[in-house]
């Protein structure tokens, strides 16, 4: 029995809509005096983080606690992992403690897939970001944010993102967020355009279900949502682009560019933002920027995923692709 969430590409349209709808109900719990549900009482979830990511870990932890799961946080820093213990040993040690699910963040692409498919453990595996591969809950919370803003909170129930035009801008090559979003947004019927300097687009992108453009200005006017990806300054040293100034001039989002977007269009950012690089403070702090909403929505999405994978005797989400392997 598969009960994992490894890649956004594993989700069918109906699975994805079910997660979004469930998250919408989960979001209402946050408005109650007691922000807690008994649903995962007695289930133990470990947050296994081999990479620092306080934001993602806290978001998962909040979701787990709101569903009454017992939570164990395991960070690779200062642990036996840094002394050479393998992923396999660590996972097996945790499972011996009676863990029902592993939320894993790992610097190596495919580590969650390995954990779920190698027979090392029986627990459910939820990918919280692996290398430059996937970050499915990020894609789900992004889609959730878009559906709320572009379709409507109540009107969106049961709906996908058909016909919405989404532009993703920045370091696509090194971005698990971009990969996950392309997969999920395509599944949900949106039209995706990736915008980046050619050096930051992977070889092989031509098979992805999206368009690729090197010109931000020509796509802005046709976008319902513009998602800015973080661009690490170190990339400059590896000659992916000449200077920070040139990058932000060609691919950064400032007030002028934002003004040219359709009136209803939103600006998204998975965080953490590098202000002055891919986004100016003016845009980041504007009403149209959903960065803070995305964080709040992240808890609701993760509650939905945890409930749908762990809430019953088997997962409600089908894992077609993972099961075939």
């Amino acid at each position: 029995m598969q009960r994992h969430l490894i890649s956004a590409a594993d989700l069918t349209r109906d699975d994805a809509v079910l997660i979004l709808d469930t998250a919408e109900e989960m979001a209402r719990v946050a408005d109650r005096p007691i922000k807690k549900l008994p649903t995962l009482r007695g289930r133990t979830v470990v947050n296994l983080f081999f990479e620092d990511s306080t934001r993602t870990r806290i978001s998962f932890e909040a979701a787990e606690k709101r569903l009454s799961a017992d939570v164990i946080n395991f960070s690779a820093k200062g642990s036996s992992v840094s002394k050479g213990e393998s992923l396999k040993d660590t996972a097996q040690t945790l499972e011996a403690m009676g863990v029902d699910a592993v939320v894993i963040r790992h610097g190596a692409s495919g580590a969650p897939y390995r954990l779920a498919n190698s027979g090392w453990i029986d627990a459910a595996v939820i990918n919280a970001g692996d290398g430059t591969h996937q970050h499915p809950t990020q894609a789900l919370l992004d889609a959730f944010t878009m559906r709320r803003r572009l379709v409507g909170r109540d009107a969106g129930i049961g709906q996908d993102l058909s016909g919405k035009r989404i532009t993703i801008v920045g370091d696509v090559l090194h971005s698990r967020v971009a990969r996950s979003n392309v997969d999920l947004l395509h599944t949900l019927g949106a039209e995706v355009t990736l915008v980046a300097p050619p050096t930051l687009v992977p070889v092989g992108v031509e098979t992805w279900p999206c368009e690729v453009s090197y010109d931000l200005d020509s796509t802005l006017t046709k976008s319902d949502a513009v998602m800015m990806l973080r661009v690490q300054r170190e990339r400059m040293n590896a000659a992916f682009f000449p200077t920070e100034r040139e990058y932000s001039r060609r691919y950064g989002l400032d007030g002028d560019r934002m003004a040219r977007m359709p009136e209803h269009a939103i600006v998204m950012h998975p965080g953490p933002m590098v202000r002055g690089m891919e986004i100016t403070a003016e845009v980041a702090d504007s009403e149209r920027c959903t960065a803070i909403e995305q964080v709040a929505n992240g808890v609701s999405i993760r509650m939905a995923v945890l409930y749908l994978l762990l809430g019953g005797n088997e997962p409600a989400v089908t894992n077609t692709r993972t099961e075939e392997k």
Binding site: T22, I34, L37, L67, Y307, P315
Partner: protein, 190 residues
Amino acid sequence: MDRQQDTQASDARPVLEGPDIARVLTRIAHEIVERAKGADDVVLLGIPTRGVFLAQRLAAKLEEITERKIPVGSLDITMYRDDLRMHPPRALARTDIPGDGLDGRLVVLVDDVLFSGRTIRAALDALNDIGRPRAVQLAVLVDRGHRELPIRADYVGKNIPTSLRETVKVQLAEEDGRDTVLLGAKQTSQ
């Protein structure tokens, strides 16, 4: 309310028809007004799916009688069920609490069929996380018996003594296109 009890219409016979349902809802509305001494602080909460429609119909009747606005909402109990681990996770339904909340109010839970009482147990748990009503009462269209918990209804549309081999299926116009309550035999395949 028990979805395991779905039955095919072919071998089922109606025990309540449309006019009967309208009549018992009117009677329940009058009982609520009487027992709640004017229903000043009543809030109706329907349990999805069909309990919500019944609550809305009851509210309309109460408004006719009292000529006041009656707050009505819905209370999804899925995540409070005690049999979550026995089935795949269910899709969640809407929980919608009227604006003024539940604190100090008389909450009347509304459901279609009262059977084991486990749904109502879950509803009481869910209520507990949402507010502190002055009192909680229960209105059901049909009480078919076979309680497994010390729970009873305050307002009952119709008592229908049943065997455990039978199913009770409530159909409402809002969801099913017609109003009726069907009594049938359980499918052996289930």
